[in-house]
Each structure stands twice: as C-alpha cells, then as structure tokens.
C-alpha cells in the first residue's frame, strides 16, 4: 500500500485530530522548540532584546549544559527530585485507588463523600500551600500543637532537611490524591456490570473478581494516569516554592524549582531552558522505557 493511500484510508482519523493538533502546535510546540534552541544561548533579560534594545544574546554551545551537569549541586537536586516524584506518585495512586474502590460501591451518601474528598483539588493551589505552611508552623501549627497535647516534642517541620521533605511531600499527596481518585473511579465505572454478573454466575469471589476483572480492565486508564502523574509531579514546582521556597538551604528543591528560579530571576532563559531540556530528556527516556516495558501486552498503545 502506498503512503498516500494509507493516509487516505484514515482520512477521518486525521480530520478528527486536526483541530487538536493545530491548537497544540501554536501554544505548546512553538515554545518547546524555541526553548530547546534557547538552551544553547546565554539569553537573559539584559540581552534578550525588547522594544527598546535590540537583542544581543549569542550561541554558547553546550556551555550551559556543562555548567549544570558538572555542578555537585545538580546531582543532589536530581536525587531529591526522584524521592519527591516516586513517593508522591506512589501515595497518590494507592490512596486514590483505595478510595475509588470504596466509592465505586453503591451506598447512601456517597455523593457527599465524593464531593468532600474532591475539595483538596478544588482549592486554588496557592491557598492550600499557605494553609499547609501554617499547619506545619513549629509553634502555632496544628501538628505541633497536637504533638504537644500528646506530650511529644515538637518537630521542626520546615527547617530540617528530612522533615521539610516529609512536609512538602505530605502537602502534595494531599493535593493530588483526589485527582487520581476521580480518574480511577471513572475507570471503574466504565467496567460493564455484566462482566461482574457473569463472573458471579461462575462462582468468583470478590477478591478473585478484583484480580480477574477490575485490574485488567482498569489497566489502560491506570497506566496512563500513572505515567502522567509521574511527569506532572516531576515538574510540580509551585508547592515547594510556596511552602518551603526550597529551604532549608535548597534541601527541598527539585529540578523544576531550579528551572523556575532561573527563569523568574532576571529571566536567565538560557539556564532555565537548559534545566527544562534536561527534565525533558529524563522524562522522555523514562516514558520510552515505561511504554516499551508495557507494550508487550498492548496495554498502552
């Protein structure tokens, strides 16, 4: 079959995708490609050019990459990024799945539970982040006041290397589980009831049903949302930025917060995009590996 006829055969498919592709091309891929190019320059606010000053930034080759990858800090931050991502996604998924399974049953009042459990997702991020910072306040925060009431020592939540990481991760788990829950609940609801009925006729128990029906049919949705969750969490900078500002002493920083700090302070876009491209490369190789591993059973594609 010739290329042209292949394309023609699926004319409808292309037509269906076209609007989405157009929208994405303009607002996502233009900056992406631009960003990759900028990472090879020394662009910042002083040389990027404006209506009043012509641009004067120049090509610097791999200089930004060398600088980032040879700094000892980079590897610490990468380690923190991995801890941050893996812990968050693990808890998002397990909590989300457990709640979705509970809410998938029919019982009185589940609409109310569903709505209440959704609230962490519904509140604007900066407000939740500020609230959590208050909860973690060493003197007046809820956790330490509760510890005090129990007779335990207060914990320096946001000022200690380990506790600060625990605190930001706890905040983000709280923020992210409702999304997982809703998606997985949607997935569970799409599983035809007839399949359960049929298996009951065959004498399958609940646990058996979970492994033979629920999990396999939930897999496409679950695998997709986990992959997206990993990608998003890796790039989730605002919680850390608002709760600890990366402190104490950069010990809760992740790669994305570094990229944003470079971009926001004096617009050092050369460096910021270098971090962004490194993030992109890490996630790209991970996703490739992830999809390859799961492709055998045609779960994702």
């Amino acid at each position: 079959m010739s290329l042209l006829s292949k394309i023609r055969r699926h004319r409808l498919a292309y037509l269906l995708i076209l609007p989405t592709a157009l929208v994405m091309a303009g607002i996502v891929f233009y900056p992406l490609i631009r960003g990759v190019l900028i990472s090879f320059t020394n662009m910042n606010q002083y040389n990027m050019g404006s209506k009043f000053i012509p641009p004067s930034y120049r090509f610097v080759g791999l200089q930004n990459y060398v600088k980032v990858l040879t700094s000892s800090q980079f590897w610490d931050i990468l380690g923190q990024t991995l801890i941050w991502t893996i812990t968050n996604v693990f808890f998002h998924f397990t909590i989300g799945l457990a709640l979705a399974l509970l809410l998938n049953r029919r019982f009185r009042g589940r609409a109310i539970y569903r709505t209440l459990l959704l609230i962490p997702w519904a509140v604007p991020t900066y407000i939740s982040a500020f609230s959590w910072r208050w909860l973690f306040n060493s003197k007046y925060g809820f956790f330490n006041l509760a510890l005090k009431a129990l007779g335990a020592d207060p914990i320096p939540w946001l000022s200690h290397q380990v506790w600060a990481m625990v605190a930001v991760i706890a905040t983000n788990i709280w923020l992210g589980f409702p999304f997982m829950m809703v998606v997985l609940l949607g997935g569970l609801q799409s599983i035809p009831r007839e399949m359960y009925e049929a298996s009951e006729v065959d004498g399958c128990g609940r646990i058996r049903q979970f492994w033979t029906i629920t999990l396999p049919l939930l897999k496409p949705v679950a695998l997709t949302v986990t992959l997206l969750g990993i990608i998003w969490t890796f790039n989730m900078f605002n919680i850390i930025y608002l709760v600890t500002e990366g402190g104490p002493h950069h010990q809760t920083d992740i790669l994305a917060t570094f990229a944003f700090i470079e971009a926001f302070h004096q617009w050092r876009f050369g460096m910021a995009t270098t971090y962004a491209v490194i993030i992109l490369s890490i996630l790209l190789s991970f996703s490739f590996f992830y999809i390859r591993t799961l492709k055998g059973s045609e779960e994702i594609y």
Partner: protein, 277 residues
C-alpha cells in the same frame, strides 16, 4: 446482617478520609470568619468570640463589586475551556483509539512530550506570541492557552476509556446502518460518560484555578480571573489572611457546585449498557 456491618466500617473509613481531606481547609474556613487581629494566635481556637462576616463583605463589595466581574470572567473561561477541551479531546482520542493510522504512535507520544517540558518558564516569549496574534486581554487567548494545558491529559485519558469499550457494539451499530460519526456520537460517547466527566472536571479545575497565564495575559483589572484578582491580599511581608481566607472559600464554592451538578455523569455507569439505539 454482614452487609450492614460492612457498611458501618465503610462509612467510618470514608469519614476519616474526608476529615483528612478537609482539615487544612477548616482552618481557612474558620479564619474567614475571624476579625484580622485574631488570625494568628497561640491558641487553637476554631471559632472566634468575635465571629464576623466583615471579611466576606469586604471581598464581595470592594471596588464596587469587582468580585462579581471576576466571578463572571472565571465562569465563562472555565466553562468554554471545558467544552472545547472535552470536544477536541474526544474527537482526537477516538481517532487514536480506533484507527491504526500512520503517525498514530508518534502523535500520542507528542502529546506526552508536551507535558514534559515546563513550558511556563517561557511565559515571556508566549506573551509576545499572544501579542502578535492580538490575543492579549481576551478571553479567547486564555481559553486557547488553557485548552493546551488540559488537552494532552484529556486525549490520553479518553483514549484509555474508549479502549475499554468493546468494539462489537460499534460493529453491530454499523451493521444497523449508522455512520462512523453516528456510531461515535450515539454509542461511544454515551458509554464513556464517566471518562468525559473526568476530563470535564480536569479542564474546568485547570482553568478555574490557574494563575500564571491569567496574570500574564490579562492586564486590565476588569478582565482578571478570580485567582488573579484575589491574590492582591498577599504583600511583601504580610498576607491579609482574613480576606484571603474569605476569598478562598468563595472561590471554592462554584467548583463544588460544578462537581455536584456533573458528578452524576461520573457514576452514570453503563445505564446505557443495553444499547437500545
């Protein structure tokens, strides 16, 4: 008998989870009713002796009720983003799910890549781009930007949902004389209502809570969205907690209403499972 006991445990677990989910917000709620001097205190008092509605009054009436203009802006932008996002994503996801066309895998991968690059660091070039197209200070520009934020997720998600729908149903409908698009509209969409609901929530909340694009692209106060307008209570050294808390509550209520209104689709399940069409 066993069933009732199970339900009792179920409610206990869910109640505990709900408490964990809302307790940080309880502080926001309690602060929103406190007069300013009582916001920070070394005592854990949830209900102040001087409970007041002044904070809400201030937020709702400031600058001649500009709050309601922001509310209208946010509502329009979030709803249209939702409609566009769900519509574009559904069509694209259906193609990805049902047709083995050239560039299919690449296309899917490209949607993923879009999520991997923290594109928001390039808001300045993006501002200039939007400016060239005359999309600054316009709802259309913001809606477009939000659609791109939510589209990759929606496409991947809906593809996952469409994949779980048995093809036999569509084939049967085609045999009955329905066109491919007719099959999509009459058979596939109704069957994936939970998936559509998920993507609708996602699009809506993304647009409703977003700050950076709205702040960058909208320069006139009357065009602000709620998160941008209400951020003015954060200052260099201090935050007007009492006002911010009241605005946080006000900003969350519409989302809860939206969710309550649309969640029945999330659990519509397969009521259409018999497929009468």
């Amino acid at each position: 008998m066993r069933r009732r006991k199970n339900n009792w445990i179920l409610h206990l677990v869910l109640t505990a989870c709900c408490l964990a989910a809302i307790f940080p917000i309880i502080w926001v709620l309690s602060t929103s009713f406190k007069p300013e001097p009582e916001v920070f205190s070394d005592r854990l008092n949830l209900i102040s002796e001087h409970t007041t509605l002044d904070n809400y009054r201030h937020v709702l009436t400031m600058k001649g009720g500009v709050f309601f203009i922001w509310l209208r802006n946010s509502t329009i932008i979030a709803l249209i983003t939702t409609v566009i996002g769900v519509f574009l994503a559904a069509t694209a996801a259906y193609a990805f799910s049902r047709y083995r066309f050239l560039g299919r895998q690449g296309g899917l991968y490209i949607f993923l890549i879009a999520q991997m690059f923290p594109g928001a660091i390039l808001v300045v070039p993006l501002y200039n781009l939007m400016r060239q197209f005359g999309m600054l200070n316009s709802f259309a520009g913001l809606i477009l930007a939000y659609s791109t934020v939510s589209l990759p997720f929606c496409v991947w998600m809906l593809k996952g949902f469409f994949d779980t729908i048995p093809r036999g149903l569509e084939e049967a409908a085609m045999v009955d004389g329905l066109s491919p698009l007719g099959t999509f509209y009459r058979i596939v969409l109704p069957l994936s209502l939970p998936g559509l609901a998920v993507t609708a929530f996602f699009s809506f909340i993304t647009a409703w809570n977003e700050f950076m694009f709205a702040f960058t692209f909208m320069s006139k106060e009357r065009l602000y969205t709620l998160p941008v307008g209400l951020r003015q209570f954060v200052f260099q050294f201090q935050t007007d907690w009492h006002l911010m808390a009241a605005s946080a509550v006000l900003i969350t209520i519409p989302v809860v209403i939206f969710f309550l209104q649309t969640q029945r689709f999330l659990v519509a399940g397969l009521t259409a499972g018999g497929v009468k069409g």
